[in-house]
Symmetry: C2
Subunit: 376 residues, 2 copies
């Protein structure tokens, strides 16, 4: 699963690889050879039967991973677009929403909600912490009513997985819609869309799905469908109703991301073959291996240990070390690309992605390189 | 340039092709082998130097094709998303816009404008006609002022190319922004973004660019940049300012459509090698060949001959012929996929796409097949 950075070459061409890269960022993730081959598929008529079959198969496969009976919708766009789509289909201007944040991506979602004129109440936990279900429940039971609760399942900036399953009951008791950003969790960590009663779950193609960025996939519960009927935020591109109407005819309202769907079909077959529980187990074992390795290097994890993420590990940068130089040396001398910290963690933290098409050997190589560069 | 429909296979894998397909729809268009190979490229860090170089090269290449000095922005999404982006960055709720329509895609853009609460005045010409510059000029000189004028350069549903260059001066005299849907024209037909003074031009990856759907590219004039500063329509995903800010750092606000950009880089190199004037000439010659062939079959063109499109030819279905059966036989017996008519033209017209990666021989085969199926 070690990839090359060079002029893009075919997955099957026996060219000399110029340089081996171990891409350890939390997405875009490394593409498996089968996916790369699928991506080179020729175009088809998006109003014809081949496309209808492609859509049927991929929607059904995504539904299994979401563990839901809800409708599944695809939109060409980034996961960030999916976060916007969830809002504009659920709410009207001025609607009150509770936005639970534990890092950068939660804050981004708040910003989107504010840009659309929602009345956003942000409950922020410090970076590295998870949201506390009791505190959320207290707020929902006591404070002014909200139409919806937005929460990040897996916060990519801090390596924290929020206990969405424990938070959900209070949201339901409050009669609010539960909107969950599952961009970097779905397909890597158990995400019980129906089990938890998630009204809108959002994911992005470039994470655990092992395919390129450019498609966002959402599930929409019957309750959320009801909400779309009265939601007055302006929308056209992201409109759920139009997407579903066309999906039922085997089409899409506008040209779909056919190449991403080719990749998704291949990736879903791989996931099916491995078995979803095995995919989750692999992610957990590799994450655990990463965390133990980080500690063996004398480094400190950034996330609350009770809520550490199985898809990305955030690490406190050792004091007095120039992380820019570390990243450069990791890259130039070892072909290892780690992610920097985000925002105020940019210089003080770094992150190791371990989601999607990843094996333990790649983490081993990354950790060995890190130890060498840090002189540990 | 004859392609296969089957399980997507690598462009370079010497597998047995199951069936040859001549995809003659006006997008998604056939992918050249070089593009298909590029699409299988491995992922990279979208916050790293390889991505910055990829973005620089593709933005510069697209700028040359747009024939503009304006800023060029890419968004993961369909061309329809680009149409929405142009509006939400230019206007405020209630702003008056003039929407010139000559077919389905113009009408779609009106609908988007209405969904966002713009006060839309639609000037509709009958399907098959082009907009009349004199009539538009009269309206702009005489009627109530408008903030913007929206027009489709090349109407894919009817095979008509609007004389945007002749309409533009009146728009400028009226002090309105000129927004042009160039989704199915840019890169195939001369589109003088700067020469005509187009404030926002929008295109989509799956047309003349010879790459898969999933990316929209726009140019934004200094005047349009000024407008974004006061435009109050809610926006986040499509926000021009954020896109430009990140582009200047070699990044994007959220994960970009890396695979489409790999394809675009390859396609731009092909277009550079052929020469843009030669690309236009090829499109014109092939379109002319298509039109002559259609007439030789005794069939009637749907578009006003003065404004026939060089990217798609709309044809009146012969009376008494079941076009569903024609499409089926073309497909099953000849591997030719034509496009149906759209909306009220669905049964009465059909369309032949000839844009992007197309040669005369493919049109020849399609026409021969059509003649055979129609018994002519």
């Amino acid at each position: 699963m070690v990839a090359t950075v060079e002029k893009p070459t075919s997955a099957v061409a026996p060219r000399r690889r110029q340089r081996e890269i171990n891409l350890r960022i939390p997405g875009p993730t490394t593409l498996p050879p089968l996916v790369r081959r699928a991506l080179s598929g020729q175009m088809i008529n998006h109003r014809g039967p081949e496309f209808a079959a492609l859509q049927d198969e991929t929607v059904a496969g995504v539904r299994r991973v979401f563990r839901t009976q809800n409708e599944i919708l695809f939109f060409p766009g980034a996961g960030t677009g999916g976060l916007e789509a969830a809002l504009v289909n659920s709410f009207s201007p001025g609607d009150a929403v509770l936005c639970i944040t534990v890092g950068s991506f939660g804050e981004r979602w708040c910003e989107i909600a504010r840009a659309f004129g929602l009345q956003v109440e942000q409950m922020a936990w410090p970076w590295g912490s998870a949201a506390d279900p009791a505190v959320v429940a207290d707020r929902l039971a006591g404070g002014p009513p909200v139409k919806g609760v937005m929460i990040t399942h897996n916060e990519t900036s801090t390596g924290v997985t929020n206990p969405v399953g424990e938070i959900a009951p209070a949201v339901h008791r409050a009669g609010a819609l539960l909107l969950v950003d599952c961009v970097s969790s779905m397909g890597a960590i158990p995400c019980e869309t129906d089990g938890w009663g998630v009204d809108v779950a959002i994911t992005g193609s470039q994470k655990a799905w092992m395919i390129p960025p450019g498609m966002t996939m959402l599930s929409v519960s019957p309750r959320a469908w009801e909400a779309t009927k009265t939601a007055k935020l302006p929308r056209s591109y992201w409109d759920f109703q139009a997407a579903l109407e066309f999906q039922k005819k085997g089409q899409t309202p506008y040209t779909p991301a056919i190449t991403q769907m080719y990749g998704l079909r291949a990736a879903l077959r791989m996931m099916d073959e491995e078995g979803l529980e095995n995919v989750f187990r692999r992610h957990h074992e590799i994450a655990d291996y990463t965390r133990r390795g980080i500690r063996r290097l004398g480094l400190q994890l950034a996330a609350d240990l009770r809520y550490v993420s199985d898809t990305v590990t955030a690490v406190v940068a050792p004091e007095g070390v120039d992380m820019k130089l570390v990243h450069k040396r990791l890259r130039d001398e070892h072909g290892v690309i780690l992610a920097t910290g985000q925002e105020h963690w940019r210089e003080t933290h770094f992150r190791i992605g371990h989601l999607g098409y990843v094996r333990r050997s790649e983490i081993q190589q990354a950790l060995r390189a890190l130890g060498e560069v840090l002189g540990r």
